[in-house]
Symmetry: C2
Subunit: 300 residues, 2 copies
C-alpha cells in the first residue's frame, strides 16, 4: 500500500498523477501521422545492415515547453531555452553514426543552422544586377554547409524532426517515442536536453476564456507536473540509456540537485549546468563520479 519509488511519493500516487495528466491532456492533433513516421524510422534504422547490427537510435529533446493558462490559449508560461545545445548535439550524434529523433520546440535552433544569423534569408542573400538571388560572400560557407549537411542527414534517413509547443504535446510525444524505441533495447538512448515545465495548470481547472484584467491582481495556483522521467525508465523504455540535464541559477545547490535527479529518476547520467556559465563548463554526474567538462577554447 505504501511502496516507495525513490521519489518520496507512493508508487500508486505517482501512477494516479500520470494517469490523470494524460487523461486530462488535450489529444494530439496529428497522432496517427507522428505514429506512422516514428514506426517507419525506428524500424528502418534498427534493421540489421551489412555490419551485422542495426543503427543505434537516440531521441534528443530540445527547447522549452509551454504551459497554457487558458484553454483558448492567449497566455502561457514558457521555459527559456534556445535549443542550441540540442541542435549541436544532434549534429554530433549523426556524425557518430546514430539515427536521431529530434523532438524540438517550434522556432528554436535547428541542426546545421546554428551559425547563421537570426534572419538568414534577409541577411545571407542578395539580388544580382541580373535579378538572380545569390549568397553573400560573407555567409557563403555557413549557408552551403547548413543546406548540404541538413539535406544529407534527411536524405539518408538518419534525422526525424518532430516539433512540439506545450507540455501536453511534449509528454505525449515522448511517451510515443519511448514505447516505439523500447524494442531497440540497449540500442536506444534518451538525451533529454529540453527545458520541461515543473508546474502546470490541469486542463480541466483552466479558464476557458481569456483571463480578464479589470479586477485587481491575478492569483494563480499551478500544480507539479508528475515526474515522467521515472516513468520513462520504468515503463516506456526500461533498457534505454538515459541522460538528463539539470539547470540551476544558484551554483550552491546545483550538484546536490543533480545527484537527487540521478537517483530519483534512475538516470544513467545527469549533466549539471549553471545558467550564467553553461556554455563554458558543465559537470557530468554519474553514480560513481563527477566529471567537469570545459569548452575547448582552441575550437570555434
Amino acid at each position: 500500500m505504501d511502496v516507495k519509488n525513490g521519489l518520496g511519493v507512493p508508487q500508486e500516487t505517482l501512477d494516479a498523477e500520470v494517469k490523470s495528466f494524460f487523461e486530462s491532456a488535450p489529444p494530439l492533433q496529428n497522432r496517427d501521422d507522428i505514429s506512422g513516421k516514428l514506426e517507419e524510422f525506428v524500424e528502418r534504422n534498427s534493421a540489421v545492415s551489412g555490419n551485422g547490427r542495426g543503427r543505434r537510435v537516440v531521441c534528443v529533446t530540445s527547447g522549452g515547453t509551454t504551459v497554457p493558462l487558458e484553454q483558448r490559449c492567449v497566455r502561457y508560461i514558457d521555459n527559456f531555452s534556445s535549443g542550441h545545445r540540442g541542435a549541436a548535439s544532434t549534429e554530433n550524434f549523426i556524425k557518430a553514426g546514430y539515427a536521431v529523433i529530434f523532438l524540438y520546440r517550434r522556432g528554436t535552433y535547428q541542426p546545421y543552422c546554428r551559425s547563421l544569423p537570426e534572419d538568414p534569408l534577409v541577411e545571407c542573400f542578395e539580388i544580382t544586377d541580373e535579378s538572380n538571388i545569390q549568397v553573400r560572400q560573407s555567409h557563403a560557407e555557413a549557408v552551403k554547409k547548413a543546406i548540404t549537411e541538413h539535406h544529407a542527414a534527411v536524405a539518408e534517413g538518419h534525422l526525424l524532426k518532430l516539433p512540439f509547443t506545450t507540455i501536453f504535446e511534449y509528454l505525449q510525444m515522448l511517451q510515443m517515442i519511448g514505447v516505439s524505441m523500447s524494442r531497440l533495447g540497449a540500442n536506444a538512448m534518451f538525451y533529454l536536453a529540453a527545458a520541461v515545465s515543473d508546474f502546470y495548470v490541469p486542463w480541466k481547472n483552466m479558464a476557458e476564456h481569456k483571463i480578464q484584467s479589470a479586477s485587481g491582481p491575478l492569483d494563480m495556483r499551478l500544480v507539479q507536473v508528475p515526474k515522467m522521467l521515472s516513468v520513462l525508465r520504468k515503463d516506456w523504455a526500461p533498457l534505454a540509456f538515459c541522460i538528463s540535464f539539470k539547470l540551476e541559477t544558484d551554483a550552491k545547490i546545483l550538484l546536490e540537485k543533480a545527484d537527487v535527479a540521478l537517483k530519483k529518476n534512475k538516470m544513467h547520467m545527469v549533466v549539471a549546468n549553471e545558467l550564467s556559465n553553461r556554455n563554458e563548463e558543465v559537470v557530468v554526474v554519474t553514480a560513481n563520479e563527477k566529471i567537469s567538462v570545459r569548452r575547448d577554447k582552441t575550437q570555434a
Copy 2:
C-alpha cells in the same frame, strides 16, 4: 486630490504606478544605440522633401511581450501572437508611403517573409551537382520577392526594425519612440498590434533564483501593468493618431471591451478581434461608428 482620467483610477495613482514601473524595470541594455537610430530615422524621414512636406511615420508594434517570473530568467509568462498582422501591416504602410518603425518580438514574423515556410533556408534551397546553392523552383517567386522588397525598404531608409522580448523592454522602447515621434505632431501614427501583458511581477518582488519545484503547488500573485496607452496619448505623443487592438476569445464581451478601451485610453480607433475568426473578420470601432471588415476572398 481625486481627479479622474476615464480609467476609473485617480490620476495621481496612475502617475505613481507608471513611475514605479519604470523605476523598478531593469534598464535597457542598448539604450544609447536605440536612441541614436531612432533620432536619425525620425529626423531624416520628417525632413521636408521635394513635395514640400516630410514623410509620415508610423510605429507598428508586433508580437507578444513576456513577463519574467525570475530575475535570472528561466521561466516567463508569454502572450501568444505570431506577429503576422504587424508584419503584413508594415508592408502595406510602406507601400502607402509611410516610414515604419517596426517594434517587434524577437522570432515573430518579419515583413516580406510571411509566405515562406517555417524553416526557409533548409526548405527553399538546394545544392546543384556543381555544388552551387540554388533556390528550389517551387519557392523561387516567394524568395525573390522577400529578399528584393525587404532590401529595398531598408536601403531606401523607410524601415527601422527594433526587437524586444520582455514587457520591460517593450514599454521602455515605446516610451522612447513616443517621445522621439512627438516632434512630428499629427504626422505621427501608432498602430499598436502587439499583444501586451496585462499582468506582471514587479522586478523588486521577483525571486532572484529559479523557483524550486520540491514543495507542492506554486502560488503566484501578478499585479496589473499600468495602462500605458493613456500615458502615450497624454504625455509621450499627444498629437499622434493612435490605433489599438482588442483581442478576446468571448465574442459576447468583445465590442463592449473595445468601446471601453477606446474611451479609457482615448484611442482614435480600436480594432476588435475575436481569437477564432480574427483572420476573416474584424470590427473597426471609433467614437462614431463600428465598421465590420471582412477578408476579400478573391485575394490570396
